[in-house]
């Protein structure tokens, strides 16, 4: 058996072909990955490996996997800590919600 992502050819139901609009946070996820790659902090192969190792892989959407894997890699490499990421996310959420 391969990894959780290695599901090609597995029994499955019909494909959901409904398009969804790309949301802002998904664009940000993509942009952050590009920036981290440009700075040499992350590579596509590392990111794929991190995605495949997510315990909740099957419960996450495409870009949710991207975000979770990016956090995992940055923590693994010691670039950021989970606490720093959580604090920053909470700060942004407060700002988003307004006074």
């Amino acid at each position: 058996m391969g990894g959780v992502h290695d599901m090609g050819g597995s029994p499955a139901g019909p494909i959901d072909r409904v398009q969804h609009e790309v949301e802002d946070w998904e664009r940000h996820a993509d942009a952050i990955n590009g920036a981290l790659g440009a700075k040499g902090l992350q590579s596509t192969d590392q990111h794929r490996r991190a995605i495949e190792s997510l315990e909740d892989y099957r419960d996450l959407s495409y870009y949710e996997r991207w975000v979770a894997a990016t956090e995992k890699l940055l923590v693994e490499k010691g670039v950021l800590t989970s606490d720093e990421i959580d604090e920053r996310a909470a700060e942004i959420e407060r700002r988003w919600n307004g006074p």
């Binding site: 058996m1 090609g8 050819g9 192969d45 490996r49």
Partner: protein, 96 residues
């Protein structure tokens, strides 16, 4: 470069932990070398921050869909092409 276009090969049925790009449904299956793509750092090592060197030859390998799926009822000329690194291939004898 070990293989030439037209050579028959079989994908190793190996189980390897970690980041593997070879799809499970092709393991143990026979196909033919369609083309040589180039040599690239090994993604199985790059995934862990290693250099991936020496570069590994990558081939486009053709498979008959009927060889991949039990009870496949599509046209016999239905093929599937996958990019497979040389270290996942062995020469296939007995298929012409």
């Amino acid at each position: 470069m070990t293989f030439e276009p037209g050579d028959w090969v079989r994908v190793l049925p190996a189980e390897k932990p970690g980041h593997v790009r070879t799809p499970g449904y092709l393991k143990g299956k026979a196909g033919w070398i369609e083309s040589f793509i180039g040599a690239f750092p090994n993604p199985e090592d790059l995934a862990y921050g290693l250099s991936g060197l020496p570069e590994r030859p990558l081939y486009r390998v053709g498979f008959s869909q009927a060889d991949l799926w039990d009870g496949y009822t599509g046209p016999v000329e239905d093929y599937l092409y996958a990019d497979i690194y040389e270290h996942w291939l062995e020469p296939e004898r007995g298929t012409t």
